[in-house]
């Protein structure tokens, strides 16, 4: 019966997240460790699988509407997968306590990002033909809903790559998509239009997560009966739930999520110091 609870929990987290256009990956590990009492390593393994599932299942419409910048994605994926590889090796050296602490920090950053809404980057630069982004032919355009083409330029590639390395590292260590870290990198360093940055980040998350999932799998650290229902629940929740729940007031839901993130951060902080509650569910 636990399978159905796992499916249900992932479904609800993903459906609610979908209303705000937010990935549910960050909720999976706290849900599994706090309510299902799995080890944090088992939770991370299950979570990373559901992160791949959500990225792959939602990518197609973005690619078809040409919002995904394919070249930029594969370039940045060298950095995110290298980061993920480093995370896999670091994971053996890092204590469970540190993982809980790191997760607490990422939950708080997410809460803060959820409160402060993203602003469109101001494009103030002229086409600089000498920049690395120009030489790598990264500038592109995308069509809006009216069919008009919007050209955009890609900003600071070296800075973007270093931030992506960090995002890949955190993704592997914590089993999250770490969109929360990719988005500032894309907004501030690369200065992409919001739609392009969301689509491209979502596209890259799958490969980044696969880089660590492949390693966890070959180590035998992915528990099939945990990862399966969680991945299925997340995908079905993202596809169906968001549509069913569109009537929910987005502003109130946003505040609710901020509260949940802070609460989960508090719980994870307690776990950092070895205090566990709420006990059994």
């Amino acid at each position: 019966m636990e399978i159905l609870w796992l499916f249900g929990a992932a479904f609800i987290a993903s459906a609610l997240g979908g209303v705000l256009g937010m990935a549910s990956g960050i909720f999976i590990v706290p849900i599994l460790t706090l309510f299902f009492h799995t080890s944090i390593h088992a939770a991370i393994g299950a979570s990373i699988v559901s992160v791949i599932a959500c990225s792959c299942a939602s990518a197609a419409p973005f690619i078809r509407s040409r919002l995904t910048n394919i070249r930029l994605a594969i370039l940045l994926e060298t950095a995110t997968t290298l980061g993920a590889l480093s995370g896999v090796f670091l994971a053996g050296l890092i204590s469970t306590r540190f993982l809980y602490g790191l997760f607490t920090a990422v939950l708080l950053i997410s809460a803060r990002q959820m409160l402060a809404r993203r602003k469109e980057a101001v494009v103030d630069t002229e086409l600089s033909s000498g920049s690395l982004a120009s030489r790598l032919r990264l500038h592109a355009s995308y069509p809006d809903s009216a069919g008009a083409e919007h050209r955009y330029q890609v900003g600071n590639v070296p800075l973007g790559m270093s931030l992506m390395y960090g995002a890949g590292l955190i993704s592997a260590l914590l089993g999250i998509g770490s969109g929360v870290l990719k988005i500032p990198a894309m907004d501030t360093a690369l200065r992409l239009p919001i739609k392009v940055s969301s689509a491209t980040s979502n596209f890259m998350i799958g490969v980044t997560a696969a880089a660590s999932a492949v390693a966890w799998y070959s180590r035998g650290e992915i528990e099939v009966n945990l990862a399966g229902p969680v991945a299925l629940g997340s995908v079905v929740g993202a596809l169906l739930g968001a549509r069913l729940l569109m009537w929910l007031p987005a502003e109130k839901l946003r505040l609710f999520f901020v509260a949940v993130l802070i609460l989960l951060a508090f719980q994870m902080l307690m776990s950092t110091f070895g205090i566990h509650f709420p006990g059994d569910l």
Binding site: F7, A57, I74, L85, G206, V214, Y217, S218, A227, A231
Partner: protein
């Protein structure tokens, strides 16, 4: 136009691949709840998870094929690099 066609292939691969893996996982879960020997529910779930993990890798391979088709050496090389990094993780993992 070759460019756009490769994009379409990538979109198709990801949507069909994720649908296949979700169906396998769902079937596996159903068999775990209502066993039907000789099938093993968790083996089928495992197969679904494997499809899922390998799907992004297949996606990079497809992109590599696209770059080769466009004679885009630089980006073909970048795609090979990503594949090598992932393979290193699997091998040393």
């Amino acid at each position: 136009m070759k460019h756009a066609e490769n994009h379409r292939a990538i979109a198709l691969l990801l949507s069909w691949g994720s649908t296949l893996s979700m169906l396998l996982i769902a079937a596996g879960i159903a068999l775990t709840l209502w066993p039907l020997p000789p099938f093993s529910g968790s083996d089928i779930v495992r197969a679904g998870i494997l499809v899922l993990i390998l799907l992004p890798v297949a996606r990079v391979m497809l992109m590599l094929a696209g770059f080769i088709g466009q004679r885009d050496r630089l980006y073909a090389l970048i795609a090979v690099l990503v594949l090598m990094i992932i393979a290193t993780g699997a091998w040393l993992g």
